[in-house]
Symmetry: C2
Subunit: 280 residues, 2 copies
């Protein structure tokens, strides 16, 4: 497995790649969710490259950039085991070579949902992913469904800018009790970890209500909110039910022919957790 | 010469291009300035593709999108004579396939100079050029020095986003009296055309003052302004002297070791004219 720390190394490696290339961008602190992305990438023909880059521009000053978990040695072993062919591990200076004036924005989607609470987040994500795609030039981009708004927004960006890459969403991996795997779960104190199960249970309750015939967004949101409250999760950024392809609001607040997605963001202690589920 | 009206045709043509590809994006209404770009592209090895697309997103509602000159048949002949291998001529729907939510911004440069008077202009330019570069995938991008801020901004964008293309600026072509060639010159009534010579003469006067030893930006601007006024050009959007590589303001308003650029934008009647000159 090649360990590529600068652009020149990446370009040299890229030039000798024949055939298809799959790309899995990460911020490191790898867990089973990332490994599922890598397996999906590995299953298709061609080579697989991952990146590890904790991107400062997608964190606000009050957020957890400084304490975001960095587990580089362990990540390296996991990527090697997963059959990765190469890993791009740039420094901040190596990633941002230019003037830093250029920003890619996807609006209004980037200001919706998580964007209401993290106003510059998606601009940071869209910009760094555009840079990564231009450097790596993959045929396929693998993204987790866990960060559902990010997946939809980047899919939109790739289509809008005609970036020559196929975007694939990979299913969320969950702990035994349903908690979606996330690098931020390690912030949770034991008591918080116990309450965090409420997130997945809120989604499951909405799913059940939907299967029982409920089609009103407001009612489904209330069902989820009640489960969160029962788990002592009081800080709810949002619970939303949206078009699963575009994240647009549902006409008249009622589910139509398409299965929508429920998305939520909460804070458990100081840890922000997001999750989502297609209400099928 | 291939006439490519949609993305699929472009992709088919692109796939069979071996070796280098040079790209000259235009809004049509071609004149000698464009032909110099094409000659520069032609002189390097490989194939040459141009595009003709009057991009609605770089015009404000009060601007001249509707009446912008369209001379497609004549453009086609000129491109053929110039030895172009292919021309991409998409419709608006063909250019903007996606959600239209994604914007590329270069800030603060895009809000400076012309951006102060055309607040959404450079965002439209940066976005459409990103799309074009992703569709055409050229090795070299040829841009006119006439639109100097555009040249610097796109060069910045290409560096910032790591777009795999080399940006080349091509010298402005001028009429016998010095007026920079522009598709918009045909808007000028005869009396306006006569006054418009003041633009190039203002730059020439600043150049002379610089050669005579003047290094103060304010004085050079005043020299240019006086020439504009003498030609009855009262509507001056700006006259500026800036770093020629970055368009940054000069420290303490004094020319240092590097030759700066003087840029100006004026209105003659209802026609907006821009021009610039390196003060060497």
């Amino acid at each position: 497995m090649e360990w590529l720390t600068d652009r020149a190394m990446l370009q040299r490696w890229r030039r000798q790649v024949q055939g298809q290339l799959a790309f899995v961008p990460t911020m490191g602190a790898l867990h089973e969710g990332h490994l599922r992305l890598l397996r999906a990438a590995r299953e298709s023909p061609g080579r697989v490259i991952a990146s590890i880059f904790v991107n400062p521009t997608q964190f606000a000053p009050n957020e957890d950039f400084a304490r975001y978990p960095r587990t580089l040695e362990q990540d390296r072993l996991l990527l090697q085991e997963a059959g990765c062919d190469a890993v791009f591990v740039p420094s901040v200076a190596e990633m941002y070579h230019g003037s830093g004036q250029t920003r890619v924005q996807v609006e209004p989607l980037g200001s919706d949902l998580c964007g209401r609470f993290r106003p510059t987040h998606f601009q940071g994500v869209a910009t760094v992913v555009t840079i990564l795609l231009n450097l790596v030039r993959p045929d396929r981009l693998y993204l987790g469904c866990k960060d559902y708004q990010q997946l939809i927004l980047l899919r939109q960006m790739v289509a809008d800018l005609a970036l020559p890459v196929q975007v694939l969403g990979v299913e969320t991996v969950r702990e035994a009790d349903g908690l979606a795997m996330s690098s931020r779960n390690r912030y949770l104190a034991p008591e918080e970890r116990a309450r965090a199960v409420g997130v997945a249970q809120a989604l499951a309750a909405a799913q059940q209500a939907r299967r029982a015939g409920e089609r009103r967004v407001e009612v489904l949101q209330a069902v989820a909110q009640a489960v969160l409250a029962r788990h002592g999760i009081e800080q709810v950024d949002y619970v939303a039910v949206r078009d699963a392809a575009t994240l647009a609001a549902l006409p008249e607040g009622v589910i139509g022919d398409q299965d929508p997605v429920m998305l939520l963001a909460v804070r458990v202690g100081t840890t922000r957790l997001i999750d989502n589920r297609i209400l099928a």
